[in-house]
């Protein structure tokens, strides 16, 4: 639970609570909407570019392929069981919207999770010191591969298709049915977030090391500060949405806490079965356990107009998201370390070296 304390008190996470408390105490704190869009595009650009650079270095190997295939499969499968778990209590439209949200991912949760690992630069620095052979020989073993960013991009939209399909199949009122399915697909696969994420990933892949160094002060150094700022904003918005849950009832809150555990556990099982590296396992669990509160709600608002955004947005944003960054991440990291014991020992060693170096993890 040491990483829990660490994660809880060091930026960026606590800024989420500043935002949350501000709303609870009726402060007028507000992050301007355009700024919040800017920072969210910035975060996607940074994580995409970094992932692309890493992917360029690793190339396409079996693990990369497996990660991507199973990411898509999970994005298609999660909505199925989520829907049937939720339908009785919430009705088909709300269940479909929430199922789609859980099948998709939360980029900010993913980004916050990536803070658990040191940056490659730091590992390289340590390499020049004295490290045991197994670490020194493969520093990449201590950071998630670029394929995880690709996996995140791939998981963002497919669940929307399943969600809409479930809604059309199981809903009594047939309101949204005359909506053009092609329209919804376009909305799903071509929203700005995905374009920036994939675009930056591609640029990261094609731009040589040179490009990577050019961008490093922008996407690396100020990254944690920008993330802190964004989490402050997320706290404010979550605080505003949480009020809507009072009407929705405790069952919805319970779903928001249980679904990440179920989906995360299945993700863990798959990662274990397929021998994902420890960092990839952790990130894969995070992808499965997190829920979308931006792209999916925007698509569902049009595709399933009867679903109540006052339910599906707050569950993903004000329940599942804070649960994940506070309790989920430490838990997922803990189980990852359980099945990767040797790795975990090396990792602890590495982090101690990093600390004694006066360097910091994860930027």
């Amino acid at each position: 639970m040491d990483s829990f304390i660490h994660n809880f008190f060091a930026p960026p996470v606590p800024f989420f609570f500043v935002g949350l408390l501000a709303v609870i105490f009726h402060s007028d704190l507000e992050i301007p909407e355009q700024v919040s869009k800017f920072i969210s595009l910035y975060l996607l650009m940074a994580i995409g570019f970094k992932g692309g650079v890493e992917l360029h270095e690793s190339g396409i190997n079996t693990q990369v392929a497996l990660v991507m295939i199973f990411a898509i499969l999970m994005a298609l499968a999660i909505p199925l069981w989520s829907f049937f778990l939720l339908r009785k209590k919430l009705g088909a439209p709300n269940a479909a919207a929430l199922a789609a949200a859980f099948g998709s991912v939360s980029a900010v949760t993913f980004i916050t999770a990536s803070n658990y690992f040191p940056s490659l630069e730091i590992i390289e620095n340590i390499k020049n010191l004295n490290l045991p052979g197994n670490i020194a020989s493969n520093p990449k073993a201590f950071i998630p591969g670029g394929e995880m960013v690709a996996a995140m991009a791939l998981m963002e939209s497919p669940s929307i298709i399943i969600g809409v399909w479930l809604y059309r199949k199981f809903s009594d009122t047939q309101d949204g049915h005359h909506m053009d399915f092609k329209e919804i697909m376009k909305e799903a696969f071509l929203n700005g977030s995905i374009v920036v994420l994939l675009g930056s990933l591609l640029i990261g892949i094609v731009s040589n090391e040179h490009g990577s160094k050019i961008m490093s002060p922008f996407i690396g150094d100020i990254f944690k500060g920008m993330l802190s700022f964004f989490l402050l904003d997320m706290g404010v918005v979550a605080g505003k949405r949480i009020k809507a849950l009072k009407d929705a009832g405790w069952i919805v809150v319970a779903f928001g806490l249980i679904m990440p555990l179920i989906n995360g556990a299945i993700g863990f099982g798959i990662a274990n079965m397929l021998n994902f590296s420890a960092p990839n396992m952790f990130m894969f669990i995070v992808l499965c356990a997190s829920a979308s509160y931006i792209a999916v709600p925007a698509a569902m608002r049009i595709a399933v107009p009867e679903a109540n955004p006052g339910i599906y947005v707050p569950v993903a944003l004000a329940i599942t998201f804070p649960f994940n960054i506070m309790l989920g991440l430490p838990l997922y990291f803990y189980v990852t370390k359980l099945v990767h014991k040797e790795w975990a020992n090396d990792f602890i060693l590495l982090m101690k070296q990093a600390a004694s170096l006066g360097s910091v993890s994860g930027h």
């Binding site: 869009k37 918005v237 809507a244 049009i302 944003l317």
Partner: protein
């Protein structure tokens, strides 16, 4: 003063703006004006304007049309607004310049 027109005002969920304008464009409506940062409160709860999570913001669309075209547009948008929520009103006005 000058010749009479109808002014149609629509306030609805922001997510539907693209669909609404495409509808108007497809029917070659003569002109419209759009505001994108519109908050409010109605039957579907509080639209506090924070767009990051979708569905909590409105848009406003205004059309100045001759009576004939206004009637056409009214029928055109009705089913959409029923689905997307919000209000649509019509009132009398006069051209100063067009």
């Amino acid at each position: 003063m000058e010749n009479n027109i109808k002014k149609i005002e629509i306030i609805t969920d922001f997510s539907y703006l693209k669909i609404l304008t495409r509808l108007l464009d497809d029917h070659n409506v003569s002109g419209y004006t759009i505001l994108k940062d519109v908050m409010g409160k109605g039957k579907r709860g509080n639209k506090d304007g924070h767009g990051i999570s979708g569905g909590f913001k409105n848009c406003y669309v205004m059309l100045c049309l001759e009576e004939e075209e206004a009637r056409k547009v009214t029928e055109l948008i009705r089913p959409l607004i029923v689905r997307s929520g919000g209000v649509a009103i019509v009132s009398d006005a006069h051209w100063v310049i067009h």
